[in-house]
Point group: D2
Chain length 342, copies 4
């Protein structure tokens, strides 16, 4: 059976990545592509790398007939997303890639995003989209909220360790390095090649990055107490990839066992042999996440490093994985593409 | 029916690219991976990006049982290839990715490669692997010689124009820009990141690049007279991609019509609308080739630009396309992956 | 004696490059920095890499007291430049880095830039700023028009050959590769890192690039007849650097002799030994231009390749070299910085 | 007075960087360049970017007449350096850029470098070359040991904080990101452009990086007790630059005051306004180090980030700064070059 798919926000990078992945999916058919600012254009104009595909032209969202759609991916900007989604049919299955439904608490949302949520009732309905940890709820969900790409990486590092109680909850540091596509296709000076190439730097220092809202929500829920981590993202001169280096206090062997146990049956999470470190070059363009654990020379401390592709496992790949679950497909369909290296 | 595949030279970039592509092929099963220098290692050690695949460990070539192999890809270095291939069973289907069987004339081979050919009889047997132009012969061939990656790109630009007689044969210039993976995984100073990043330059100037042997052989055969083009490759700070800019004398409309006609039914060759120019970013990681034609302000001159991925359409993708033909598969199987952008 | 310097358009890349160079100039003192959109900011805010310098804050151009200025660099956008310059004191020495005064013929200006020139009388007054060929006129000039960065590179390749009559004037091709900083700090989608990294492409194909106006003007003047070349620029994933590959018909030895002779006494133009090719990595951040000549395998054809840094020799370095001449300084003062490699 | 300079190991990146800097030094004259493997070649052959300079050809070290040399820079590989230096005249002023004389304790040296030191008596004589903290001793020294580039960056972050007692000594994490030129010009697979571009990863995890020997030695000496930090370096797809992110426990205001106070009069260390973060793009090619402090959302924790150019301030610039002191010059001579951006 072929599922009829709509993608809103098809002219951004996560929209394009969705189409790239769905192109090899045997049971999905894209029947509508919404992108208000570029409505009327063909995908070959907006994304020439997709010109070989037989795709519908971009249209305004209000011109899409959603009664024919089995599942809708929403890759719109934050805040726009909640407005659009609340106006869509309330029985339409939706995977949202924006930040709008990640935080369950309206107050937390307002704190991190600076504006009151305009669809509070849906906030409660939405299931958090970190597949490996919300699989069953996602399968039954109508609305799934894709996680932040940094938030996903950090959670792959830390969730099992918090759940298994093998690390000190008051001393967790996550130093993260991300490529530039995570910032999207927006026209900002700091995203220019001339600014970024050969340049790297920290940003959102001191606990101000919005993905901390997700960390706080999830880690505190797992631990059953408030957990606040330190988190510093860095922008790296590369297009794709997130590398998260976690510094934790706990027995390195217990840390390793916890991760190995948590991900033993996961199709996309690979725990490397003890002491090995992952590289973004080995997951680029794929839905895989590599995790490595190292023992520090100081007793009782471990370093956990995870690498994934922000556009795939961190965003559109995750979205497709969730959509598969929602539609009764095997969750790996269309996602077993090997990484592109070099 | 599943075809049993061996890959020799599996520890190089073209070997890895073959495995990446075959990983999504429904009817191919890799049963042997040969790599003498790294025999005994697992692919996860040699290429961690392939660690999720269930692959045999690397072995010495002499330890492979070729009686069980339906088709063998040979991704060995030039010169080694002819020695190894002449020692393989003579009824084994082989796609060679080296330069060893591209030139039909032993003398031309010696001129361009500096040593006499050690398997002259096979030189005659081999079919030149430019799929779009040798499709029928490839389907029946036992030994197919993969083309040079630059040679493929240049021929996509020029073959139809020469065949259709729409350009001046004595005034053809091909200015080519290629990424660094075309040089392979060899340890050379000029391939270091510190040397190449932010640096670009011409090399093999004045008609000394070996791929000219292929141009001379093929263009002269099409034209029925000697055709010698000018060809300058440039090394670009990027990993993948070839962009070939052809300067030809002829009516731009006739040039465009010739290319459009030649490639109208080709699954992987996309001729862009008149006046548009291709970019390597739009074919990266895929088997597609984009071609654009522009009219020069000087009457009777056209610029034809082609872009492809040297590791895919220029090498391993082409090899798989040919293998599909040799094995009776549809030639596009395993090759419809969309380009990875950004 | 210290010359008092003003820079208009100090918040762009060429403005920053001027300041970087002047910082080591013993006889220049920057007394005013104009940048209307960022007036009121300090240079440490606009360009943190210059924060160690003791520089005036940015001000509106109308707030600068030009009576105290010995020489004014104008690094404003095209069209703005002519408006601003015509309103400045008419005895003020000016080096303009925009395109506004490069073309002497108002009609040619309108053809290439699409609008009538608003300061036609100054167009006649301006001296074309290609130092090596207009040295004496520049020394006496009040208004010098900096050349296009591509235009400079191409002229270094071709001017001596045309002047010496050693090449066919009807068959000149210039295939040029440039880094992204030449496009300035403007917010355009194709200048984003995510679009450009790992991507390269031709643009302004077929003779539509505005720098052709300069080639036409200069080459025709040298030859005493109309000379039209073919010119294709390509955007390369690098920040700095122009590499121009010229295809000419003529005796390679005569070509080499012509260039060697022309540049024998030039402090910044280095003609490499016959057969060697320059690389942008070897001139980055410097005012040097490297030129190499190769003999093609086809008799009577040569390839000439030149490399320079678009922001230095192609723009701000040239501007400072000209300013030195106008102020009676040795033209190399402040410009002998060695290239930055790697 | 002009100082006569020799450089041993002139064919590596730090050797080239020394020459680039000395080229603008008014009082230094390079009279000998030693490089055993490339003896007989000219610098134009080895480093074409230096071809405009009037430099002696490379010679074997034993062919240099050291009686004419005022100061010798030694940019040889580790271990070779101690052998060569112990054979040089014992009254020759030497700035060593290798790791051989950084550790004062022979046992510590053997632990970190895996072999006994062959010139133990000189180990004691050598002064540690972190200019800002050993200035007086360096001025009087005969042999100065240049610091590790990562070690320098980390010490700029941490020395004042340890000295002033404003941070917890048992909980210091340094997460460091470095460009590839720090690994030198050696032919290793992981330094290839095809491996590194678009790829980044941690290495020497868990406290195994040799620069920890320097941290241990220096921090323990300052604190008067053993101090062991956690240190994870990451390789970044860029040529130059080190960015060190330090996580410390202490009052952020006290941390900021300590750094501001320590570096208030330093010509090359710039402490940014509280809350601002440095970027490697703003120090590239220069001897400057930018330091930023941010307050974490968790009380009593601060993040300190430092950026410098590994080849300049981290190595050859530091060496020249020290040589200036040893020769009685102002320490900034030849080093005030502004960063190259973009």
């Amino acid at each position: 059976m072929t599922h009829k798919i709509a993608i809103l926000g098809a002219s951004g990078y996560t929209g394009a990545e969705l189409i790239r992945l769905i192109a090899t999916h045997p049971n999905m058919d894209i029947i509508a592509l919404g992108a208000n600012s570029k409505a009327g254009q063909s995908m070959a104009q907006v994304f020439p790398h997709l010109r070989h595909l037989d795709l519908p032209d971009l249209v305004k969202i209000e011109d899409i007939d959603f009664t024919k759609v089995d599942l809708c991916f929403c890759a719109l900007p934050h805040k726009t997303s909640q407005e659009v989604i609340s106006a869509l049919p309330h029985d339409l299955r939706i995977v949202d890639l924006s930040a709008d439904f990640r935080l369950r608490d309206p107050e937390a949302y307002e704190t991190w995003y600076g504006n009151p949520h305009s669809a509070v009732e849906m906030q409660g309905e939405a299931v958090y989209g970190l597949t490996e940890f919300y699989r069953e709820a996602i399968a039954k969900a109508r609305l799934v909220a894709g996680t932040g790409c940094n938030a996903a990486t950090g959670q792959y590092v830390l969730r099992p360790l918090i759940a298994d109680g093998v690390i000190d909850l008051d001393d967790i540091i996550l130093d993260l390095k991300c490529g530039v596509s995570g910032a999207g296709r927006s026209l900002k000076e700091n995203l220019l090649h001339a600014e970024l190439s050969e340049g790297y730097h920290a940003y959102a220092l001191g606990g101000t990055h919005r993905h901390l809202g997700e960390f706080d929500q999830e880690f505190s829920a797992i631990a059953g107490r408030e957990v606040k981590i330190q988190f510093t993202p860095h922008l790296i001169p590369a297009n794709r990839g997130i590398l998260a280096t976690g510094y934790v206090k706990g027995d390195p062997d217990a840390v390793y066992a916890s991760l190995q146990n948590a991900y033993a049956d996961e199709p996309f999470i690979e725990v490397l042999p003890m002491g090995e470190a992952p590289s973004t070059r080995h997951i680029r363009g794929s839905n895989f996440c590599h995790i490595g654990v190292s023992r520090d020379r100081i007793e009782g401390r471990a370093i956990v490093v995870a690498a994934l592709d922000n556009l795939t496992k961190g965003s559109s790949g995750q979205a497709l994985q969730n959509a598969n679950l929602m539609l009764g497909e095997d969750e790996t369909v269309g996602l077993m593409l090997a990484p592109v290296f070099p």
